[in-house]
């Protein structure tokens, strides 16, 4: 398989964390979805965002992508404050929602052409072939998006994200709808790009996946940050053994938090 040449980020760029979230909070009318979340994702790092349904994962990822405006705190992408410099910040970040909705009437090639135009990708033509091959889309370039399977649609969204070589990629449930081979390919793609310097923040309910590919894990529960660190650090703080899976560790942490929240306040 032909491999895609990915330039490493410059030293100066690498020195700035790809994603910095400081005291991020999001309120809706009578409900606070996220309370003061603070974390950062360095270049070349893969961070997993883990939490139950309604924990605030999608709200956080959408705020990172600029779809939601934070009620409190700040989001910086590649050193650009998303509120003050939205355009450079957005250029540096790629966001993939949990369910991809491509333009039903455009072909795979037209989606990539549009991405190249929108983000000013100069050598798009040269990158296209290897990228399509890597994501097994070579035979589908002229296929209308509405004829693609869900897995292929997901791969098309990834191709659009990878084509422009962003500094950071935010993925919401990236492996939904993929077959086992597809899952392996995408995992390899993510690892390879991370090794080249791209930062990844991915949310997933597949805790085995998070355990397998993530350098650090962020556990949120009801909009609050419960844990953030390497798996070893989290296990250590949760007082579980080194062999305990992320799934068991996650349940141990969330259950302890629930018990603490339910306990009557100390006099």
């Amino acid at each position: 398989m032909q491999t895609l040449p990915i330039p490493s980020p410059s030293r100066g760029a690498a020195a700035v964390p790809a994603i910095v979230v400081t005291g991020f909070g999001k309120d809706y009318d009578d409900f606070t979805a996220v309370h003061g979340l603070t974390f950062s994702v360095d270049a070349g790092e893969i961070v997993g965002l883990v939490g139950a349904n309604g924990a605030g994962k999608t709200t956080t990822l959408r705020a990172l992508a600029g779809l939601l405006r934070p009620s409190r705190g700040a989001v910086c992408i590649a050193g650009h404050d998303l509120a003050k410099e939205p355009l450079p910040a957005k250029r540096a970040l790629a966001y993939l929602p949990d369910t991809s909705h491509p333009y039903e009437l455009l072909t795979v090639r037209e989606h990539l052409q549009f991405t190249a135009l929108a983000y000013g990708v100069r050598d798009a033509a040269a990158r296209l072939g290897p990228l399509l091959e890597e994501l097994e889309l070579s035979g589908k370039t002229d296929a209308i998006a509405s004829t693609l399977s869900r897995g292929m649609t997901q791969k098309l969204a990834l191709a659009c994200a990878f084509l422009r070589q962003p500094r950071a990629v935010v993925l919401d449930e990236p492996l939904t709808g993929l077959d086992p081979l597809g899952i392996r390919r995408i995992k390899e793609s993510i690892r390879r790009r991370a090794a080249e310097g791209t930062a990844f923040l991915l949310s997933s309910h597949l805790l085995e996946l998070v355990e397998a590919i993530c350098d650090r894990v962020l556990i949120i529960h009801r909009g609050r940050l419960l844990e953030y660190g390497t798996l070893a650090q989290i296990r250590d703080r949760a007082s579980v053994t080194a062999e305990t899976s992320l799934e068991d560790t996650f349940f141990a942490i969330t259950e302890r938090h629930a018990q603490r929240a339910a306990a009557p306040p100390q006099p």
Partner: protein, 566 residues
């Protein structure tokens, strides 16, 4: 606009056009479109020089349309609570490096295209009645663009408000729109729905050109100056005799307003993206449900049902269960019912006001009963409590232990009953309420007597038989259309959905066609000397057509399962 967005817009437009022509390559849509085009073209050819068409372009009417369009844009935009984008736009454009004004412009681009097409259609239709067709078409295009800008601005404004503020503003806006319409009715149509003290001296100026210059002149300061200026121009022939410059001035004003409103939209400081997420998702969900063949009800109001205990009644057993199910859904969809009621009252109001002036009795004998008889055709979209709510569950209804014809009749029972109830309400209001209205407001109809509001017994008897027959005809026709579409969807899920508008147009024409034999007989029999039997024969003919429609519907329904399997 951003080059990437231009590329996207052009690529999508190209593909949509291609799909439309692809759809027309299939015989059914082609025949439907051709028949609709030929019928409409023929009707246009017959009536293009009718003076009634010219009446539609009178200043009073034009001002009324403009007011309704503007008020509709304000309300539609505000109630949408955010600019609705397609989901791919949310995924590809929102996180992209696009300025807010570029996204707004991209979102409005199809509307601009629509405005141009609608303007051209207007120009073709009313060419014979227009002195300056090019300027008139350009003015209409500019006005539509202003309406789109207003709707977009109100949508963004509505989306930026908190929940309580939104609901308060909604009532304020509704009140403002109602007040504007009532002021227009008082000023331009002389219908005094509002007491005089509410109508300020300057109000007529709001509705120019519905209120002519002489009436404006009758009403001081600035007005006197303008009046004197227009009078002097009238004398020199600059106004009135030469309407060209007035139309040009009107176009110039509208064009400046269109550009100004766009500049205003581009400078809005509100967050378009966040406010757009919810409406975009909501609209995508309704489209998804529509593609599955499920009519989307606004909202289930409550889980409680008045009909809970009624489920035990024998009438609701077997095929009757379908009636019970549809009535339960209807009970929980009170917004749809309220809309149908509001629509009925709105359509009854003009008759209510016109009835006391009906000296020769034509309205009471013929026009009003016929209009109420056709009410179900207008209520179809508001009362989808038939096969339209079944969607993917449609084939499973075939498992019911009843004959297809019985199931079909049960399925259309709920909307038929609601239509009949609304027809009865409309007729009852006109028959009973109009007399009361006349006695309360005798000044409004000085020459009207109580006899002007009484419906002949023969008409009421005709309505008792005619309304059910007409309602069943309309409901059966629309459900037939629905079942045929469901079968097509099941047979080819990836089939292009373009041509839907033509499909709807075809079914509207078909709805008219199912009444053609009865209407024709009703009209021809008196000419052949058989006047006394004209009404009964027409009624029996329509009954036969209804039965044929129901049999066709039952047959179509029987084939649903195999269609779904295909």
């Amino acid at each position: 606009m951003n080059p990437a967005l231009v590329f996207l817009f052009v690529a999508l437009l190209k593909q949509r056009t291609r799909r439309l022509f692809q759809a027309l390559r299939r015989p059914a849509p082609l025949l439907g479109t051709l028949s609709a085009a030929v019928t409409l073209g023929w009707i246009y050819h017959l009536y293009r020089r009718e003076s009634a068409l010219g009446e539609l372009l009178q200043p009073v009417a034009l001002t009324g349309y403009a007011l309704v369009m503007l008020a509709g844009s304000v309300l539609k935009g505000f109630l949408q609570r955010g600019l609705a984008f397609d989901l791919p736009d949310v995924e590809f454009l929102f996180p992209g490096p696009f300025a807010q004004r570029h996204l707004i412009f991209y979102r409005l681009a199809p509307n601009y295209l629509y405005a141009v097409v609608a303007g051209l259609v207007f120009g073709v239709l009313f060419n014979a009645q227009l002195d300056h067709p090019i300027l008139a078409v350009a003015s209409l295009i500019a006005f539509q663009i202003i309406c789109f800008h207003v709707a977009a601005g109100m949508a963004i404004f509505g989306g930026s408000l908190s929940e309580p503020a939104f609901y308060t503003t909604r009532w304020l806006l509704l009140g403002l729109v109602a007040l504007s319409i009532a002021l227009y009715a008082r000023t331009a149509l002389l219908i005094h729905l509002l007491p005089g003290f509410l109508s300020a001296e300057a109000t007529p100026w709001l509705f120019y050109p519905a209120v002519n210059l002489s009436r404006l002149g009758g009403a001081s300061g600035l007005r006197d100056t303008i009046w004197a200026w227009t009078q002097s121009n009238l004398e020199t022939g600059a106004v009135g005799a030469q309407t060209g410059w007035r139309v040009a001035l009107c176009f110039a004003a509208l064009a400046v307003a269109a550009l100004g409103s766009f500049a205003w939209l581009g400078r809005l400081r509100m967050d378009v993206l966040e406010a757009s997420l919810k409406p975009s998702e909501r609209i995508a969900e309704s489209r998804r449900q529509a593609q599955q063949g499920r009519y989307r009800l606004a909202k289930l109001e409550s889980a409680w049902s008045l009909l809970g205990a009624a489920a035990e009644w024998p009438i609701f057993h077997g095929a009757g269960a379908v009636v019970w199910k549809n009535l339960t859904v209807a009970w929980r969809s009170r917004r749809e019912l309220a809309l149908a009621l509001a629509f009925t009252l709105l359509l009854t109001l003009p008759w209510f006001l016109a009835l006391p002036g009906d000296d020769n009795g034509d309205l009471r004998r013929f026009v009003i009963p016929l209009a109420i008889g056709f009410l179900p055709a207008l209520l179809q979209q508001s009362l989808p409590f038939d096969f339209r709510i079944d969607g993917l569950q449609l084939p499973s209804l075939r498992g019911l232990p009843a004959r297809p014809l019985t199931i079909v009749m049960a399925a259309i029972a709920a909307p038929t009953l609601f239509c009949l109830a609304l027809q009865l309400l409309s007729l009852g209001l006109l028959a009973g309420g109009s007399g009361l209205f006349l006695s309360w407001m005798p000044d409004l109809f000085r020459e009207a007597g109580p006899e002007n509001t009484r419906f002949p017994v023969s008409t009421l008897a005709w309505a008792a038989f005619g309304f059910p027959v007409m309602t069943v005809g309309v409901t059966a026709t629309w459900n037939l259309h629905y079942l045929v579409s469901a079968a097509q969807r099941a047979a080819s899920p990836g089939a292009p959905k373009s041509g839907g508008a033509f499909g709807t147009l075809t079914i509207v024409l078909f709805t008219v066609a199912v009444f053609a034999p009865a209407v024709w007989l009703f009209e021809r029999l008196p000419h052949w000397g058989w006047k006394p039997i004209a009404a009964p024969v027409a009624l029996v003919t329509q009954l036969a057509v209804d039965y044929a429609l129901l049999c066709l519907l039952a047959r179509r329904f029987e084939r649903c399962e195999s269609d779904a399997r295909t």
